[in-house]
């Protein structure tokens, strides 16, 4: 069984939907370590021109867990998400999904998305020229192959599901509005709605309340707590009030590795955390 170390950093991206046939299985020893985890990140290093964005990062997310990740700028939060979603290939280390059953370092973005990992970008990224409904329709979990997409017809049950999601994200009355005309907060919600349509097992959210009003932030917190009941969620956030509101386990990243882990009160009182992050 080849080790992850031998995978070239710039391995050619695989076409979507073919990757399932690829060798993405993991040795039994590793799989045992990864039991009960939805995401198992161990000893991951990513270097850009000598700068180590991630340095032997290890992170274990349990099934159904809601986890918040904080850290100063450049701590490696976004790079960590890039590695998990296949945008960046690690130089070293293991990234395993679903009780260690799948090695994510061998798959491309589309294949990883189809496995059930959804990602929200820091800057809200929706399709501005499509309507709210069409944005959600594209995200709907269906056969992603070209011919199936060309001949796709929306079923009544699927249309209902899209309508339900529109209600959940508070955009029920903006069905036919172009996404480009939505407010910043509404775009953030639309993107979260799109992630829900994908029916992911694991959601990665990069600063979901950035630029939101207090009222919107509170609504988002409730939405996330609701979502986290059915799936695993990782939230990267700067807003301490929001992190406290989520009330989940907190991981503090610093210079590409884990500095501290625990409840919000625990990490806020940790001397090293205060020094690098909170104390500044």
């Amino acid at each position: 069984m080849p080790d992850a170390d031998t995978v070239p950093a710039a391995a050619a991206p695989a076409p979507a939907n073919k990757s399932r046939g690829r060798n993405t299985r993991v040795s039994e020893a590793k799989a045992r370590l990864a039991a009960n985890t939805i995401l198992y990140v161990d000893g991951v290093t990513v270097a850009f021109d000598g700068f180590r964005a991630l340095n032997e990062l290890s992170l274990f997310i349990e099934k159904g867990e809601l986890r918040t990740i904080i850290g100063p700028n450049g701590a490696g939060k976004t790079t960590m998400m890039d590695v998990v979603t296949g945008k960046t290939r690690p130089d070293k280390g293991d990234v395993l999904f679903d009780e260690g059953s799948v090695d994510l370092t061998r798959l491309d973005e589309a294949a990883i998305a189809n496995l059930g990992i959804g990602r929200k970008f820091q800057k809200p990224t929706v399709f501005e020229h499509l309507t709210v409904f069409e944005n959600l329709e594209l995200a709907l979990k269906t056969d992603r192959r070209i011919l199936a997409t060309l001949l796709f017809r929306l079923g009544a049950a699927q249309a209902r599901r899209i309508d339900e999601t529109m209600g959940l994200i508070g955009l029920g009355d903006r069905r036919s509005a172009r996404a480009g005309t939505l407010s910043h907060g509404q775009k953030q919600w639309l993107e979260i709605g799109m992630l829900l349509m994908q029916e992911p097992q694991l959601l990665l959210l990069d600063e979901p309340v950035a630029g939101m009003t207090d009222h919107e932030t509170e609504a988002t917190a409730e939405m996330l707590l609701d979502i986290a009941r059915e799936r695993s969620v990782i939230v990267v956030e700067h807003d301490m009030e929001f992190v406290r509101r989520l009330g989940a386990k907190v991981t503090v990243l610093h210079e590409g590795s884990v500095l501290a882990e625990g409840s919000i009160d625990y990490v806020q009182n940790d001397a090293r955390v205060i020094e690098v992050y909170l104390g500044r």
């Binding site: 991206p13 945008k87 959804g118 990224t125 501005e128 020229h129 594209l138 060309l150 001949l151 994908q198």
Partner: protein, 383 residues
């Protein structure tokens, strides 16, 4: 089957039937049935001219499919057009038989002139019309598939994609200028006699080619509508808006673009194949970069991402070109340049965008929505 009828609105179908119906019936009727001395008679040269415009319109439509929808501006579409044209030209050369200047049944004139003794292997099969038609589809299609596969897989986008397609086009032009290539070099292929037994100089044959061009353009338009109205069409627009988001949704951006690019190249090749018998010549100047850039101008002027706009733009600009090159040839290029600058600055969504904007303003006069204006500007950034 119902899916076919829903590719456009009822009004869209009505406009489609009226426009293509008039093009299909009125032009041949005015040309063939109305006496020559009548003021309503359509002169013969106009039929050929309109047939040429129809081929240009299909070429513009094919570019709109990749540029207007998937956001990949190909500046090499002239290559697919010209290759389709060359495939047809090779068939027409083989149809000449012993009627050439040298009367050689085995070799086209230019090969006799170059002292070639036998037909190159890649000319085999072009005696047969069916084989030539298969090549018209396959050559541009396979080229686009292979080229696109490398380009899209390597995630070449935006201006870089435009540059490499232009480079490909330029390479083809240099290659086809060489006599050793066996495609007639500088002079290209010309002096055609007949197609499927019909004399190309007969007016009835020309009208037949014109009708074939109308039908082909209509089919191309419907194929484009079928794709753009499907979920795949929305995936293409989504790729234009936010390519990486599409990837994280689980779609293969490479495959979606490859599909659009290949279909587009096939349509461009078919356009070229019908163009050649109507103008009577195909030479390497069809590969010239300026020609392909002009196609992008047609699409931009008509309105990107609408399909119909591409057709409109091709007719408007080529009509203006025919008029100005006759009336005031020295100002034509200045006019074209000014037009492109004007369209880019003043109406980023082209003639169609301007028209629909005016229609919307007439419906509800107050509040000329600033949001839409910014959306227009934002839309231009995808170019």
């Amino acid at each position: 089957m119902t899916r076919l009828f829903r590719i456009q609105s009822k009004a869209g179908w009505a406009a489609f039937v009226v426009i293509f119906g008039i093009a299909l019936v009125a032009v041949p009727w005015l040309n063939l049935m109305i006496p020559v001395d009548s003021p309503y008679h359509l002169p013969d040269y106009m039929v050929s001219l309109l047939g040429k415009y129809l081929c240009y319109a299909l070429l513009a439509l094919s570019l709109d499919l990749v540029w207007g929808y998937a956001g990949a501006l190909s500046l090499g579409h002239g290559a697919f057009f010209a290759l389709g044209g060359y495939c047809m030209g090779m068939h027409l050369m083989r149809q000449i038989g012993t009627r050439g200047v040298y009367g050689n049944a085995d070799l086209p004139d230019f090969m006799v002139f170059l002292n070639w003794k036998e037909l190159p292997w890649y000319w085999f099969g072009f005696d047969h019309f069916a084989f030539a038609m298969v090549m018209v589809v396959l050559v541009p299609g396979v080229l686009a598939f292979v080229f696109g596969w490398f380009a899209f897989r390597s995630r070449i986008t935006g201006v870089y994609f435009s540059i490499i397609t232009q480079a490909m086009l330029f390479a083809f032009m240099l290659a086809f200028f060489r006599n050793e290539m066996g495609f007639g070099g500088n002079n290209g292929l010309t002096d055609f006699k007949d197609l499927l037994g019909y004399d190309l100089h007969d007016q009835s044959t020309r009208v037949g080619l014109y009708v074939a061009s109308v039908v082909l353009l209509a089919c191309g338009f419907l194929i484009g509508r079928f794709i753009s109205s499907s979920k795949l069409g929305r995936v293409l627009v989504a790729i234009r808006d936010a390519e990486s988001r599409v990837r994280f949704l689980g779609y293969s951006v490479t495959n979606a673009k490859l599909f659009a690019f290949t279909i587009s190249a096939v349509l461009a090749g078919l356009a070229g194949a019908l163009y050649v018998p109507q103008v009577g010549i195909i030479n390497p100047s069809e590969f010239s970069p300026a020609n392909s850039i002009e196609v992008a101008v047609w699409v931009a002027v008509g309105g990107r991402g609408t399909l119909f706009g591409a057709i409109l733009g091709a007719f408007a600009i080529n009509g203006a070109k025919s008029y100005f090159t006759g009336a005031a040839p020295e100002i034509w290029l200045f006019f074209l340049g000014a037009l492109f600058i004007g369209v880019t600055l003043l109406m980023p969504k082209g003639i169609l965008g301007l028209a629909s904007g005016l229609a919307a303003r007439l419906k509800r006069p107050p509040a000329a929505t600033p949001q839409q204006e910014t959306a227009l500007v934002a839309g231009r950034e995808h170019a």
